[in-house]
């Protein structure tokens, strides 16, 4: 191994801390109803950029955190770029397929897992579809894709520092180069995110004749999260809000979740440095690995003979525990808040769409080499440029899905 461990930890501690980070991810995403797909569909369905702004903020904060840690020498630059992805046709194509499938099925990789743990049957079906999709990819697409990757057809053959933005911009991985690049990447994302949120809220305020943003509708008694009476001071209200959130009576706000999730990513970046893929990653595991695991007790070992399974998927890695604990965290949050319920859509057509969408998700994430978390969000933390490609492709896929859904 080329990497040198940054902190001296045992493997058990690393696996344990990755599990903890997964738990936090699941818990916070469930409490904050954090959904990448929702953030993108709402641009086209409700013309709201609020959640999309939060996404950009998430990417910006992540890049800022990891970049500054690297620039100040806490983490060596090699640990930031070592696992950088390879850009190529597959990221654009894969993210488009992924975005389309996820918006049809109603869940990106993150929301699919936490919703499945909160009892949404449609997301169980989507998860199953994703497993089948991964198998289809492995048998039908991967041999072709790996050929184009090896031959360098519309693809870069080496990830790592070659796609590390400080290296691309300044031909250097020095602290100064990383420092400057961090701001070049993070600042526009953060400012754009804040601007999108401000613009959306501003428009809401205007369209309702200047009533307070956030409280335009009247809420009947008994609905959760009743706005506190207007006469209470803002200090008291904040205290009440914090109490409600701690007691799980109220979901976390979008921006609070954004900050916690960014910190979670930075936590993993620190813990795993020098040991393993030190970013939040929840893709290769759930689709491929769990399909492989389910078949193991039946005596079918995909890792011995099936393409992709036999060359790209270690038997176990820290992300395995991350995914399992994500589900446990999401289940705990939904159970304790009273939100847990087995929900079956009335329209059975949706289950079929869920399965087909799930298959496309499985194929899309594998073609793109990662999902919205493991590739897009992670790659902003890696100071690479594949995240931008993924974002573009995914937006396209989501747009198409919204148009198709409108006709269904």
């Amino acid at each position: 191994m080329i990497l040198q461990p940054v902190f001296s930890e045992t493997w058990a501690v690393i696996f344990g801390l990755f599990g903890l980070s997964g738990f936090i991810l699941g818990w916070v995403a469930q409490r904050g109803n954090y959904c990448f797909i929702n953030a993108m569909t709402s641009i086209f369905t409700t013309k709201s950029l609020e959640r999309f702004g939060a996404l950009l903020l998430l990417f910006g904060l992540t890049a800022l955190g990891t970049g500054i840690l690297t620039a100040f020498g806490v983490i060596p630059a090699v640990d930031q770029y070592f696992y950088n992805y390879f850009a190529g046709w597959y990221i654009l194509v894969g993210s488009f397929i992924f975005g389309f499938g996820a918006a049809m099925a109603g869940g990106c990789n993150l929301s699919m897992l936490y919703r499945a743990s909160s009892g949404y049957v449609q997301n169980w079906i989507e998860l199953f579809g994703m497993m089948i999709g991964t198998y289809v990819f492995a048998v039908a697409i991967w041999p072709f894709q790996s050929y184009t990757m090896q031959a360098g057809i519309l693809s870069t053959t080496s990830g790592g520092y070659v796609e590390y933005l400080p290296y691309l911009l300044f031909h250097s991985t020095s602290s100064l180069a990383v420092y400057v690049t961090t701001f070049i990447v993070a600042l526009p994302l953060i400012l754009l995110g804040v601007y999108f949120q401000w613009r959306t809220r501003n428009r809401w305020g205007k369209s309702l004749g200047g009533s307070t943003p956030g409280l335009p509708g009247i809420r009947a008694l008994g609905s959760p999260g009743i706005p506190t009476p207007a006469e209470t001071s803002s200090g008291l209200r904040l205290k009440q809000d914090v109490k409600d959130m701690l007691l799980l009576r109220k979901p976390y706000g979008t921006n609070l979740s954004t900050v916690i999730l960014a910190l979670d990513m930075i936590f993993v970046f620190l813990v795993g440095a020098g040991y393993t893929f030190n970013y939040l990653v929840i893709t290769s595991s759930d689709g491929g690995r769990f399909f492989e695991y389910i078949l193991m007790p039946l005596g079918i070992n995909l890792f011995t003979n099936t393409p992709w399974f036999n060359d790209s998927l270690p038997i176990v890695d820290p992300s395995t525990l991350m995914v399992v604990m994500l589900c446990v965290g999401a289940f705990s949050a939904s159970y304790l808040s009273g939100d847990f319920k087995i929900r079956i859509p009335k329209d059975k057509k949706r289950l079929v769409i869920g399965f087909l969408g799930g298959m496309l998700v499985g194929i899309g994430v594998r073609v793109a080499l990662g999902c919205n978390v493991g590739l897009m969000w992670t790659n902003f933390g890696q100071l690479g440029y594949d995240g931008y490609i993924f974002l573009l492709g995914m937006l396209g896929g989501v747009y198409l899905a919204v148009k198709v859904q409108e006709r269904l």
Binding site: W11, G16, N310, D311, S312, P314, L321, V328, F340
Partner: protein
């Protein structure tokens, strides 16, 4: 009086799913650990035998994984059992009240 009525309907509706769900979580944790110990260790040995080092995991890593999984599962099992017990008490209580 009205308060009592309300409390009654609320107590009556303590759902069975809330009692069973934590038990399923605990069982899942046990199954997950046993699966890891038996099948993943077995799979790693097969990978070594076939000299497939792209997917083979070193013994230190696998041991670390099993150790972390064991501890995590202990926690999940106990937390699940606590909630199961709490749910069971609430469920029995609600049955008593409705009688």
């Amino acid at each position: 009086m009205e308060e009592m009525e309300k409390a009654k309907t609320k107590a009556k509706s303590y759902p069975v799913r809330k009692v069973i769900a934590p038990l399923i979580l605990s069982l899942f944790a046990i199954v997950w650990f046993q699966f890891s110990k038996v099948y993943l260790t077995g799979a790693d040995n097969i990978a070594l035998r076939e000299a497939n080092f792209a997917i083979y995991v070193t013994p230190e890593q696998l041991q670390g994984y099993l150790e972390a999984t064991a501890w995590t599962c202990y926690i999940v099992v106990y937390v699940g059992l606590i909630f199961f017990w709490y749910g069971l008490v609430r469920y029995v209580e609600s049955k008593e009240v409705s009688k």
